[in-house]
Every structure is written in structure tokens, then in C-alpha cells.
Symmetry: C2
Subunit: 71 residues, 2 copies
Amino acid sequence: MLPKLPDFSLSFEQQFDLQKYQQLVKDIPRPELENLFIQVIRLKMAQENLAKGVIKDCLIQQADPNSFNTT
Amino acid sequence: MLPKLPDFSLSFEQQFDLQKYQQLVKDIPRPELENLFIQVIRLKMAQENLAKGVIKDCLIQQADPNSFNTT
């Protein structure tokens, strides 16, 4: 019933960025690192909500293709 | 042209979890915190790719509503 899950493996650019962050993180002072850690989790949560909303809208639209145009 | 962006503000539960993490993070040893920080960024990237894929599929389906069923 559900559409195939899109590929979510990391691109080479993302893998490169991750390796860069792995080096940079060593120089971040502890209080700043704690703060950044929380901020990334906050972003991840917001992104998750956004993705869930988009998926919901998409499923609603599959059920009724005119639902976006009538509101 | 684009559908309205879904609400991505944090739920009360997520805000509560964040406050909990803000306390817990203080007790995580530095090397472990660095590792967790990178892991969260990695997860965020994968989630971003997944969301982009879902949005793309959704837009393709809007252009051709039969595209999911014919493959």
C-alpha cells in the first residue's frame, strides 16, 4: 500500500562534511558543544515534524487529489 | 504553486525531552558527547534526504497521479 521508501543514504558531500565536523568538534569548548548538541536535536525534531506533515499532506492528497485546490 | 508548509513547531513532549537532554548532556563524558554530536548530525542528514525524496515523489505524483501505481 505504501510507496517505496526513498533512498536516504548520505551523499559523498555529506560524508565529507561529517568527517570535517569530526575534526572540528574537538576544538569546540565544552559549554558550546553542549549547546550545539541541543540545537541539532531541536532542528532534527522540527525537521521530523515537517517531514511528517508533508507525508500526511501527500497521503491526504492521494485520497482526494482536489483537496489542495479547494482550500 | 507550492502547498502550504506544514507546522513544524515542537510539541510539548518534544520540548520536555529537549529540557531533559539539556540536563543529561552535562554528565556525558567529552569523547562520548563528541561522538553523539556527530551521530545526531548524521541522522539529521539521512532524515533530510528521506524528506527530500518523499517531497519529490509527492510532486511527481501530483504531476502524474498514476505514476505510483504503474511501476
